[in-house]
């Protein structure tokens, strides 16, 4: 009871600034309980034109699937308490016979449109800004009166600009020529592709008649189109370059661990993909722990997962090295078979302990959504952060290899094992640690992959080919080569994909790599002088 009372107060407070308050017509509302979607949309339009706390409460409930009906009476459900939708009176616990009112896409679009129009009058600047953006993105004719009211009293310049664009996007279809002309003149600044289509439609000739009769409006439309097209094509080019870099960074993260185990140590590790999987499952495990123990800090579970995934994968890697790989140094074929066997064991182990199905790893809120460089061209946050993360891992790794004692030992052992041993380097321990480092970095890659792709027992299989491809193309034994190869492959793949489709792009890239390796077996960058073996 108290909770619903508090809730009521909240709505009333939030909506004090709304214009034109009117009580809701119960007869209108009851149509929401019927099965007729046309009638439901009509009710939403009625609510949209009668802003009031009640209307907003009903619409919000519809948007959250919290509107129920019980014998023709509409209820808003909060937890286990019901509120009467027409009067907002608390009614006590939800009756068992209450049925939820299904809101389909068509209805939800109308509901969200109405809600954003209401929010244009919020006293909170951020809410208003977001509402104005939504209205600009998806302008609906029924919003026009509210947009005009909001325009009259809005003081923030940015919101004002968005509202002007929204108004123009609606008025472009007006029957009044002066209104159309004014709209078209403003719309040169829009990035809305639907509005662009409307502008282009004006210039189309049908039976010798332009769709837009007035030559003045047509000239303005032409002008507007030109400036829109220039901006959109620039933004698209930037976005496709970004998606290439992003694919490259994913390839890099998948391949970096292998660049150590295969590239530096020369172990053909077929279980590399499964080390990625260990990292991803560690993320899943940490997520579960946060859900039960620290739900209020859930958003930060990914950060906590990083060291744990690193240690888990490194542990698995070191055990592998101690038990199997160590006995097979210098016998690449046996190493290949043995690690392949280990990969099968690890897959089955994951399947037995976590189930054959993929598990759900949720994106924390700071990894969801994206920044919109212009409308409809969005750079997703998870990709931006993964791009940065891959660079951070790269720096961490090259620091370790070139600036620490362990890195020095690793390089010494791989270059001349006997000499390093004679100088007192514990070659056995260094091998184990180096393999552990490579495996741990694969684990870090697994954390990143869990944020953009599937987490399941077989996930590693999809990355093993790509990882070897990157390392071999970059040149074995070369971290820098791996970086160039990964980013280069990413960009080439994305360029080809937008030109020829994903299937052909994949084939072309594979063929290119085969030909390249034929011509230059040492890869992009070869070690100079005395090489590893």
């Amino acid at each position: 009871m108290t909770r619903s009372a508090i809730y009521l107060c909240c709505i009333v407070l939030a909506l004090l600034s709304l214009p034109a308050r009117a009580a809701l017509d119960a007869g209108q509302l009851s149509k929401l309980a019927a099965d007729d979607n046309d009638a439901k949309v009509a009710v939403v339009k009625y609510l949209a034109s009668h802003p009031s706390p009640e209307a907003e409460a009903v619409l919000t409930a519809m948007d959250n699937d919290a509107l129920y009906q019980n014998q023709g009476r509409l209820l808003i459900v909060r937890g286990d308490q019901a509120i009467d939708a027409a009067t907002l009176q608390a009614l006590g616990p939800v009756p068992d016979s209450a049925e939820s009112i299904i809101v389909n896409n068509r209805l939800r679009g109308a509901v969200q449109g109405a809600l954003s129009a209401f929010k244009l009058f919020s006293s909170d600047l951020a809410t208003r800004l977001k509402a104005a953006r939504d209205v600009k993105q998806d302008p609906r004719p029924e919003q026009l009166p509210l947009i005009q009211q909001a325009l009259a009293k809005e003081t923030n310049a940015e919101i004002h600009q968005d509202l002007l664009l929204a108004q123009a996007s609606i008025q472009i279809s007006s029957s009044n020529e002066a209104e159309r002309l004014a709209a078209v003149k403003i719309l040169g600044a829009t990035n809305n592709p639907e509005v662009r289509t409307k502008l282009a439609d004006m210039l189309i000739q049908n039976n010798g008649q332009y769709n837009e009769a007035s030559p003045v409006v047509r000239a303005a439309a032409q002008q507007a189109l030109k400036s829109i097209d220039l901006r959109i094509s620039l933004a698209r080019a930037a976005a496709s370059l970004f998606s290439g870099l992003s694919l490259g960074s994913v390839l890099l993260l998948a391949a970096l661990g292998l660049a150590i185990t295969y590239g530096v140590m020369g172990v053909i590790n077929m279980a590399h993909g499964e080390l990625l999987m260990v990292g991803a499952y560690a993320t899943y495990f940490v997520q579960g722990w946060f859900k039960t123990h620290l739900p209020q800090h859930f958003d930060w579970y990914v950060l906590a997962a990083l060291p744990i995934a690193f240690l888990a994968a490194a542990g698995v890697g070191m055990v592998m090295e101690r038990l199997v790989i160590r006995r097979l140094y210098g016998r690449p074929l046996e190493t290949l078979l043995a690690t392949w066997g280990i990969s099968l064991i690890l897959i089955q182990l994951a399947r037995v302990s976590f189930g054959a199905q993929n598990v759900d790893v949720a994106n924390p809120s700071w990894l969801s959504g994206g920044i919109e460089i212009i409308q409809d061209v969005v750079l997703p946050w998870n990709r931006i952060i993964i791009l940065g993360f891959s660079m951070a891992v790269l720096v961490f790794m090259s620091f370790l290899l070139s600036r620490t004692r362990l890195g020095l030992f690793m390089r010494a052992v791989t270059q001349n094992r006997a000499m390093a041993g004679a100088l007192g380097v514990p070659t056995g321990t260094v091998d184990t640690l180096a393999f552990g480092l490579g495996a741990g970095i694969a684990g870090l890659g697994g954390v990143a992959l869990s944020q953009i792709s599937n987490v399941g027992p077989d996930m590693g299989q999809g990355y093993i080919v790509d990882s070897f491809m990157v390392v071999v193309l970059g040149g074995v034994g070369q971290i820098a080569g791996t970086v160039y190869a990964a980013l280069g492959l990413g960009i080439v793949n994305k360029l080809l994909e937008s030109w020829s489709g994903a299937v052909i792009a994949k084939i072309v890239v594979l063929v290119f790599i085969i030909l390249f390796i034929q011509k230059r077996p040492q890869g992009l960058f070869a070690l100079k002088g005395r090489s590893v073996d």
Binding site: D138, P193, V378
Partner: protein, 418 residues
């Protein structure tokens, strides 16, 4: 071997006795040996994600039938094999089930390619296969009963819904699929259907991705570009694993279901359980069954599955979906047919299957067609909810007869009579 011989002798004896007594009900009542049935689903490899749940549903249904007295008093003895998502291995395992284990019937397969691989084996050895997954049609074997949907029971009603006012009145169609036989055939049928509805060639795009594709940035950007030209909808035949990166990319790039709805033919409750469903709210799927259907039969079915998962400590998700329902219906129909025929012999069961009816969890009474080996099924459109379930926003008033040979593919005209 001994058991086999006894069963063989028993059967021979039964037939003799049956002819002598002119009524084999009495004769079979004497046979109490278990009936062996095969389960042919991948428990490892890429398809294990989808198929292992079907194996468990089959085992649950056998347990349920055995608990209520078995088939004609005989217990069902399941023989489970693992074809490991390896298409040739499906054929080998099928041969093993039919010749070595001598099973009366096999419940199995998911992908069309695995079904195509076992088909010659079942036809050669006169076995019986129940196939529980929606597929592209263009096939009809005397040795297979198809309990999933044919294209006219899923794809075409789904597109009709999208073109209707409630579905958003779609004008442009982005057909997106994984590159193999099911999406290609379905899209061929859809393209012909759309053209017959007056949709222009320029308003249809077909895009395919390789198996396991995980980078959908370019494709989502292209969808947005395409959507600028009018009310657009995406029809997705993306297979299993790739759906997660696809939907994540959609959500992150801010493409909402209210702007560009995605209608999926291979995403059900089991797949959604492995994803965070919040960004997917409002996207659509077309099936013949949803877990959220409120029918008494379904409530019992869902409860039975949840209890079974809990009791056995399975790693499966405790949700039900369409292929699971189709498996459940298939097993029960087979049981009814065996009881009607008083025999588990393939030829007799096949005849007895025609016209079999069963009250299915979907809330409809399904009927096995008298001639074409497909079920008459209802079609439902569901919108994804934040909890990974579906709101049924549209369904057919009655069940629909399957057209395995789509009229929208040239050369199928003469085959419609089936």
């Amino acid at each position: 071997m001994d058991n086999q011989r006894r069963k063989f002798l028993g059967t021979m004896g039964a037939i003799t006795a049956g002819t002598l007594l002119a009524g084999n009900r009495f004769a079979f009542a004497a046979d109490k040996s278990p009936i062996k049935v095969g389960v042919l689903h991948s428990l490892s490899g890429t398809m294990a994600i989808s198929e292992s749940a079907l194996k468990d549903v089959a085992l649950m249904t056998f347990e349920q039938i055995n608990a209520s007295g078995g088939v004609m008093g005989r217990m069902i003895e399941p023989v489970v094999v693992d074809p490991a998502s390896n298409w040739p291995l499906f054929a080998e395992k099928a041969r093993q089930l039919l010749t070595k284990d001598k099973v009366a019937v096999v419940f199995g397969c998911w992908t069309s390619v695995s079904r195509k691989s076992v088909l010659p084996v079942f036809e050669e050895l006169n076995g019986l296969l129940f196939y529980p997954v929606q597929y592209e049609g263009e096939e009809l074997s005397q040795n297979v009963f198809y309990t999933g949907a044919a294209p006219n029971q899923q794809a075409i009603p789904a597109v009709e819904y999208l073109m209707s006012k409630d579905g958003g009145g779609a004008k442009r169609f982005f057909l997106l699929g994984t590159d193999y036989v099911y999406p290609r055939t379905t899209n061929k049928i859809l393209r012909a259907f759309l053209k017959s509805k007056g949709v222009k060639e320029a308003d249809i795009v077909e895009v395919y991705t390789p198996f396991g594709h995980s980078d959908y940035q370019t494709i989502v950007a292209n969808i947005k570009k395409f959507a600028g030209g009018g009310k657009t909808t995406v029809i997705s035949t993306i297979n299993g694993d790739s759906n997660v990166p696809f939907y994540k990319e959609l959500g992150n790039q801010g493409l909402k279901a209210t702007d560009v709805p995605v209608m999926a033919f291979s995403v059900a409750e089991q797949e959604l359980a492995g994803m965070d469903a919040k960004p997917l709210v409002g996207h659509l799927a077309a099936w013949n069954y949803f877990e959220s259907v409120k029918s008494p039969v379904n409530i019992a079915f869902v409860k039975m599955w949840k209890d079974y998962v809990k009791k056995k400590g399975l790693k499966d998700f405790p949700v039900t979906d369409d292929p699971m329902e189709a498996t459940y219906v298939g097993i029960h129909m087979w049981k009814q047919a065996v009881e009607k025929a008083h025999s588990d012999a393939v030829d007799k069961v096949r005849i007895a299957m025609a016209g079999q009816t069963f009250k299915a969890p979907s809330g409809f009474t399904l009927e096995m067609d008298k001639t074409n080996h497909h079920l008459h099924k209802p079609v439902m459109i569901g919108e994804i909810r934040a909890d990974g379930q579906f709101n049924v926003v549209w369904k057919t008033p009655t069940t629909i007869r399957a057209q395995p040979w789509s009229p929208y593919i040239a050369g199928n005209e003469g085959k419609q009579k089936l």
